[in-house]
Amino acid sequence: MTAPRGLPVLPGGADLAPDLRAGPPVDPARRAFMRTAAAGAALSALASCGVSMDDFLRKHFKELSKDELAKVLAKIEKRNKERFGVDTKVTAEGPRPGVEFGYGLDISRCIGCRRCVYACVKENNPSREAPQIHWIRVLEMDKDEGVDIAHAELYYEADAVPRPGKFYFPVQCQQCRNPPCVKVCPTQATWKEPDGIVVVDYDWCIGCRCCMSGCPYGARHFNWATPTLPAAELNPVQHYLGNRPRPKGVVEKCTFCIQRTRKGRYPACVEVCPVGARKFGNLLDPESEIRQVMDRKRVLIFKEELATHPQFYYFYAT
């Protein structure tokens, strides 16, 4: 059997060295620390599982009243404190009226440096190792083949990118207008928000993984174990439907950095891209960057034959 593969775990997150292979192997002391952290997290998760009868009797997120939501958010902050010893701010800011997010990715510009991958990790609090969860995955493809997943390599190792004869095709959640993942979910634990973001309620997901079978983009990821997330790397600015720490046994996905974009900021991947290959904005605003791209360039849809109608567009700017 092929061992489960992974990419280097980079401690500095987005400040990675240009040499991607320099991603350091985890040293034993660090590994021991992570084990302890993981064990601690597992224990506290168990403890919180044992006492929370109100979790068992809780209502669906959309049915919570304002007061109930405030209580739920306070409880998550308390749990964060217990689990990581860090003060966090968890909000559940709703969608803004008149906003529909759109994302553009310029395949001509992307150089395959994976800075977006690690900026996303730093921002969104996913499990670092065992399981390693990356919401953005960069595929290295052959220029001779075009966009073809049968000739795509996810775990490419390069001294320098871009490599001759290759181009790069990052994939993340396409925030479909017709999302198969939402359709197949048996518990309505995942849904599409009015601003287009497909979200997951980690407290409602039963971990059946139907959505992972349904997603054509491999955009959904499962917490096969309690996430390994060092307290020092925790992003304390959190959204209930986004980057708050996840429990074991539930599915998670890219949310266009809901905790940032609903406050008018760019997603972390857009901000970090060194070549400006990533564009983001409000599709309903004619002046927005994404609208400009769509008016002036021609866009293509990944797996358009599946009629998922994404809010994520690829284009060739040059």
Partner: protein
């Protein structure tokens, strides 16, 4: 009436705890298997599903494969119900109850396999009406939960009613009995169809997204379920003197050969389409039958499964080998093995290899997965053993109520044509 029920239940309890040395040894073996299996599951429960070899690339695997196979076994009870009840065909009617007991046990295993595959089994209430928010009718898994539990309920009610009445030496009320039997036929077909649709509806997985999937499910189910029954009938005939005629067994074997022909034909149609048109979608079928590069984990299993299914088809087609006990039982074992691979790993894994981004992760089950599956199978076999232990003495007339000695004369076992 109520006291009659209590007396019946006490009698059932006595049946279960008394028995010969072989029976006790078998039950002890099953209990031991369950205990060992549960110790593996305990590991998974504490560490999470990382104790399996499932990963994001192959996110459903061994558990879901077993689930799919067992839905087929459960659905196959209909193969016995249709000729027995609808056409009043005498030899088979005697054994229908056992087919329904098999369905009950298989359904128990199905539900357990879903439970052990869940990341958060503690939240199962979220799928229930009132307590949770089932995404019905859009999600096929909610449909599957509905039809599996419905089929289980119909079978439990039907079998309890039949056995209780026979135990009391009373006649069955056709107005209760017939609607339930007629209901059980479409529900049985629907369990396997809905399970096929669960995969079939995933446009993201070209290997599953073929209209031929549901018909193939039904065809292969009509082979695997009866294969168990044929072996069981022979065991019961020897040990309990259950009056099962050889003609009944031969008839079932004949029906199985037609079902297997259909299954192999549909497989051929699928292989032709994939390999002749040879689009980008051929990769998954290629992975199963020939491998992709050095990734060949499933190839020997695929060919072994085809060999088993084809050999069994020939054995059951020829009347002489169908009537020979040795070749008949060999055929049953071959069918069981062939369909288990085909509807288990052979269906689930190629659906996910390569994954939706073209990456290949070769899955093989871990010891935890084998152990957990052993526990589930142990529980299912135990349920089946205990139910058979109660049902057979009722059917052969040795376990009857003391209240009504007139009923002690064995009524025609388990059929409404009896009165």
């Amino acid at each position: 009436m109520t006291s009659g029920v209590f007396e019946f239940l006490r009698g059932c309890g006595r049946q279960v705890v008394t028995g010969g040395r072989a029976y006790k040894a078998w039950v002890a073996f099953l209990l031991l298997t369950i205990a060992v299996g549960l110790s593996f599951y305990a590991r998974q429960a504490s560490h999470g599903l990382i104790a399996t070899n499932m990963r994001d690339e192959v996110s459903w695997a061994f558990y879901i494969g077993n689930f799919t196979f067992l839905v087929g076994v459960a659905a196959a009870a209909v193969l016995l119900v249709i000729p027995a009840y609808v056409y009043h065909w005498k030899p088979i009617k005697e054994v229908v109850v056992l087919g329904e007991l098999l369905a009950i046990s298989a359904l128990v295993m199905c539900l357990l396999f879903i439970l052990v595959d869940m990341g958060r089994p503690d939240r199962f209430t979220h799928i229930l009406p009132l307590l949770g928010t089932p995404n019905w009718p859009r999600s096929l898994l909610t449909w599957d939960a509905l039809v599996l539990n419905g089929y289980l309920a119909v079978n439990v009610v039907l079998v309890s009613y039949l056995l209780f009445k026979t135990y009391r030496g009373e006649a069955y009320d056709r107005r209760i009995f017939l609607p339930l039997v007629l209901l059980s036929i479409p529900v049985s077909i629907s369990t396997h169809t809905v399970t096929a649709f669960l995969y079939n509806g995933m446009a993201a997985r070209p290997f599953w997204n073929a209209s031929i999937l549901a018909p193939r499910f039904i065809a292969s189910a009509f082979c695997s379920g009866p294969a168990v029954m044929i072996i069981l009938f022979q065991v019961l005939k020897r040990t309990n003197g259950l009056p099962i005629k050889d003609e009944a067994i031969w008839k079932i074997a004949e029906l199985m050969s037609y079902a297997m022909f259909l299954n192999l034909f549909l497989l051929g149609a699928e292989l032709f389409k994939e390999f002749y048109s040879s689009t980008e979608h051929v990769l998954y079928t290629q992975y199963l039958w020939f491998g992709i590069g050095q990734h060949r984990a499933l190839v020997p299993y695929a060919w072994f499964s085809l060999f088993c299914s084809f050999t069994a088809f020939v054995l059951f087609l020829i009347p002489r080998t169908r009537r020979n006990l040795v070749t008949l039982n060999l055929g049953c074992v071959l069918i069981w093995a062939g369909v288990y691979i085909e509807k288990g790993l052979g269906l689930i894994i190629p659906g996910m290899t390569p994954d939706t981004l073209g990456q290949i992760y070769e899955y093989r089950p871990t010891a935890t997965e084998w152990g957990t599956a052993a526990a589930v199978f142990g529980i299912g076999f135990l349920v089946f053993t205990l139910l058979v232990k109660i049902a057979v003495p009722i059917l052969v007339g040795t376990f009857r109520t003391a209240e009504n000695p007139a009923g002690a004369a064995p009524a025609a076992p388990a059929g409404f044509g009896a009165h």
